[in-house]
């Protein structure tokens, strides 16, 4: 019985439980003469029975699905002759794969080891038995749970409280998922990064000046040992982010000032959403645009005044990234500037200041913590931005501050190291996780710092 059919049957049970549980409660209430003798409304009785039936069976199904493969594998291994169980995990995995392929009828070869053939038959048999046990147990438990639910019913049953408690647990689980995500991120990145640092010392990674993550397949190859000094990669990230911020900060801030202090209501209503479109454009589009239009333009412009510009210059990627960030800075600054109370402006105008003097001397200082927080968040975005740099920045790690040269970034390196086939025991693959860990830590620090600045230095006007 397929899982889909099984789930459908279960859903049938659940809806049966709800509909008839509700009817049952209603009938019981009417028979008792006074419907108010029921503790809860009939729908809650129905819901309780449905949950009674649905939760345990779905849980069993889910757990079964998770553990079935490993149980079958261990049973297969124990059924094989001793020569197999003494093998190392590598060859053993290959043999297991052979067995699975045989079981699926995928075999390309003339002779089959009779042992393997036997094992694959056993595998198929186990799978079938597993399926049968699963279907039978889920259906039997489902029916039993329904029966228990109906037997458990009494007019005084506190069905609503039970249902609400279950719902409450569900809501708590929902909000815990965010925590588990963070733990998952930290553990997965940290775990692989530690394996990386067992191969490459932390000090070399943090302070090394060369990044060339080539590891050889054979020991005697050229460039046999890769070099994993992250400084050039980080320098490249900083360079591109700095260019981006140099574009985005003044333009975003000035736009916010103009929109909140000078623009008419109509202009604001038109211009703000239009600029915010820029924030909704997928980064892959920016990357394409940077690589196709901006980078060649900068290269040609540079060539016409006699400058040697790389066609993957940091400038092109940084410029486009800056434009991507403009709406981000604009929105945050706009919110902060609007939060500055009107009385401050009025006071300044009353002293005879012009609008620009008011902005420069009153509004900006008052809004500064918020603006700085916004800029920090924007920096963390620029550092973590991937597609623009993957498409428009270079691959080779140059340690340079020249924006006309090609540099690489952390995110570019993560992508190039992990796209394609990976083997999870080479320093090359694990290096991506080490970079990911650093990226995570740096952005986390920036975010926390931003929140801290906003919270601590926010002026309260009341």
């Amino acid at each position: 019985m397929s899982n889909l059919l099984l789930v459908t049957i279960l859903l049938g049970f659940v809806s049966f439980g709800y509909v008839y549980g509700r009817k049952y409660a209603l009938a019981a209430g009417k028979k008792g003469g006074d419907i108010h003798k029921l503790h809860s409304r009939p729908a809650y009785h129905g819901m309780l029975i449905a949950l009674w039936c649905g939760l345990p069976t779905l849980l069993i199904l889910f757990v079964w699905q998770l553990i079935e493969p490993s149980i079958i594998t261990s049973m297969i291994i124990s059924s094989l002759p001793d020569t197999f169980s003494s093998l190392t995990p590598g060859p053993r995995g290959l043999i297991l794969n052979d067995i699975r392929n045989l079981a699926q009828g995928l075999h390309f070869g003339s002779t089959v080891d009779p042992e393997l053939l036997h094992a694959s038959d056993y595998y198929l048999q186990l799978q079938q038995t597993g399926k049968n046990i699963k279907s039978a147990s889920v259906i039997v438990i489902g029916i039993a749970a329904l029966l228990v639910g109906f037997r458990h019913f009494s007019p005084g049953l506190r069905a609503r409280n039970h249902v609400e408690r279950i719902v409450r647990y569900f809501l708590i689980c929902c909000s815990l998922i965010a925590i588990f995500t963070t733990i998952g991120i930290i553990l997965s990145v940290l775990f692989e990064a530690i394996r990386f640092f067992q191969k490459i010392p932390l000090s070399e990674f943090l302070f090394g000046l060369t990044w060339s993550p080539q590891t050889s397949i054979r020991a005697d190859q050229v460039a046999a040992s890769g070099e994993f000094g992250a400084i050039p990669v980080f320098a490249g990230t900083m360079l591109i982010s700095a260019i981006a911020m140099a574009v985005a900060t003044p333009i975003g801030l000035l736009s916010a000032i103009y929109l909140s202090e000078y623009a008419s209501k109509r202009m604001r209503a038109v211009a703000k959403p239009l600029i915010e479109i820029l924030a909704g454009v997928p980064t892959v589009v920016y990357g394409f645009f940077a690589a196709l239009v901006v980078a060649p333009f900068i290269r040609d412009a540079g060539a016409s005044i006699g400058l040697q510009v790389s066609s993957e210059s940091a400038l092109a990627a940084g410029l486009i990234m800056g434009i991507m960030i403009i709406p981000f800075i604009m929105s945050i600054s706009d919110d902060v500037i609007n939060a500055v109370p009107q009385s401050l402006r009025d006071g300044s105008y009353g002293l005879g200041a012009t609008k620009s003097e008011t902005v420069k001397n009153v509004i900006i200082p008052a809004a500064l913590p918020g603006i700085v927080g916004g800029i920090l968040l924007a920096v963390s975005r620029a550092i973590g931005e991937t597609m623009i740099v993957v498409m428009a920045a270079g691959l080779s790690a140059n340690l340079t501050a020249n924006p006309l040269q090609a540099v690489t970034t952390v995110t570019v390196q993560i992508v190039t190291l992990l796209v394609g086939d990976q083997e999870f025991d080479s320093a090359k693959t694990l290096a991506a996780f080490a970079l990911g860990l650093l990226l995570f830590i740096v952005t986390l620090i920036l975010n926390i710092l931003a929140l801290y600045i906003v919270r601590t230095y926010r002026e309260e006007y009341e």
Binding site: A178, I275, V284, E357, M387
Partner: protein, 421 residues
């Protein structure tokens, strides 16, 4: 100092101060105009690069459905390419040299033989007849017709030589070249040949992924928002959850890709390149956004609603689910749609979980290998053929259309159902 003297000082500085005021205002205006100009430039450049991809060149060729070739045991595997080559040789009898012949065959797309096969399989009566059939032209011919190949360049610098161009000119003169709507772009999967590459596979992949993301993120996001906003008592745990959600919202998307790679692929051994894993990763990525917007929506429902419900005897849960949640729903939907739009445009985490593979088949389920629209754009942008530039821009237009539709719906929902209390 007398008032008059003070006024004099003020007056003297006024000109300069007004000039500064003007300059400042101008700077603000030009900042806005810069962004708007870039927006126009970006969109028009993509449109100009891509609109021609919606049309495609076809050439008509007299094909003799040769019984000697087609009447074989399995008509599906007959040599249809040979039929096309034969017809091309007949159309240009003067071509004799081997290399030139090869160029000649290159005028028609390699996918044209599948078209012939489908025709014959659909109507076996064709065998033995000669028909004039419109076949898909090769991408080079297409580029020539769309004047992306410059005829004035020296022969060595362009993708088509003089002879090939003369053949095309002859076909044009005979009225055998036409430009027609490019249906294949919307119905085909990916292909190495630009002329038969389409976005259907990527679009389906994106759709499956978004379905999974939505199915998980909407209930769980709203559940978390309700718990944190309505039920959670202020304690250490809820504090941690709150800070955590705010931080997760700012974690770079590529880190979620690393999580997907390490947890879903390596630990749970889910299939690579599958929309299932992509959907899970995008779910974790959009969840914080949906929780945050959901909480804002719940906050905007005034407490009087809750108090009224509680006052007439509703339980806390009933007050929330029967009264507060329906009122907050439009705001939550808006947040969810915006989150989905972000998920649709996201590509970096998908690179990590193997959704960058070259996949021709259109996925039919959540565990089939697939790619997504933005990743398809990334893949095409990397291809050297000029025809792929055009297709990349066209795919971007399709993606942007979806995004604008989604965001437009969100804006509409907000303006229609937003209530000020």
């Amino acid at each position: 100092m007398s008032t008059e003297k003070t006024m004099h000082i003020v007056q003297r500085g006024l000109g300069k101060r007004y000039r500064q005021e003007k300059i400042f205002k101008l700077m603000g205006l030009s900042a806005i105009l810069f962004s708007l100009a870039f927006l126009v430039f970006l969109f028009s450049s993509i449109f100009l690069n891509g609109y021609k991809a919606f049309y495609q060149t076809a050439v008509s060729i007299d094909i003799f459905f040769d019984p000697a070739v087609l009447e074989v045991k399995d008509p599906a595997s007959a040599n249809y390419n040979g039929l096309i080559k034969e017809s091309l040789r007949n159309a240009f009898p003067e071509v004799k040299k081997r290399k030139q012949k090869k160029n000649l065959y290159g005028l028609v797309s390699t996918s044209a033989s599948f078209h012939l096969r489908d025709m014959v399989l659909a109507d076996p009566g064709l065998v033995g007849q000669t028909k004039t059939i419109w076949l898909l032209a090769d991408d080079d011919v297409d580029m020539l017709m769309k004047s992306y190949i410059d005829r004035d360049l020296p022969q060595a610098d362009r993708r088509m030589n003089d002879l090939e161009i003369s053949w095309v000119d002859k076909l044009i003169a005979e009225g055998r070249v036409t430009s027609r709507f490019n249906i294949g772009f919307f119905t085909n999967g990916d292909s190495r040949e630009p002329e038969s590459a389409g976005i259907m596979g990527a679009a389906m992949g994106s759709m499956y992924m978004l379905a999974i993301t939505l199915a998980l993120a909407f209930p769980i996001g709203i559940g978390a928002a309700i718990y944190l906003e309505e039920f959670a008592v202020k304690n250490r745990l809820t504090d941690i959850i709150e800070v955590n959600i705010n931080n997760l919202a700012a974690v770079p998307s590529i880190v979620f890709g690393l999580l997907g790679l390490a947890v879903f692929l390596n630990f749970f051994e889910l299939p690579r390149s599958a929309p299932l894993v992509g959907g899970l990763v995008l779910f974790l990525m959009t969840l914080p956004t949906i929780i945050i917007t959901g909480r804002v929506a719940l906050q905007s429902v005034p407490p009087s609603i809750r108090e009224a419900a509680l006052g007439i005897g509703a339980s806390k849960m009933q007050a929330v689910f029967h009264h507060v949640l329906p009122l907050a729903m439009p705001g939550m939907l808006t947040g969810t749609i915006i989150g989905m739009a972000r998920a649709l445009g996201e590509s970096a985490p998908l690179l990590m979980i193997g959704m960058v593979a070259f996949i021709v088949d259109i996925p039919t389920g959540i565990t089939d290998p697939a790619t997504a629209l933005p990743v398809q754009i990334y893949l095409w942008a990397d291809s050297p053929e000029r025809a792929f530039v055009e297709r990349t821009s066209a795919a971007i237009m399709v993606l942007l259309t979806f995004l604008i539709l989604m965001n437009g719906t969100a804006v509409y929902l907000r303006s229609k159902f937003e209530r000020r209390w």
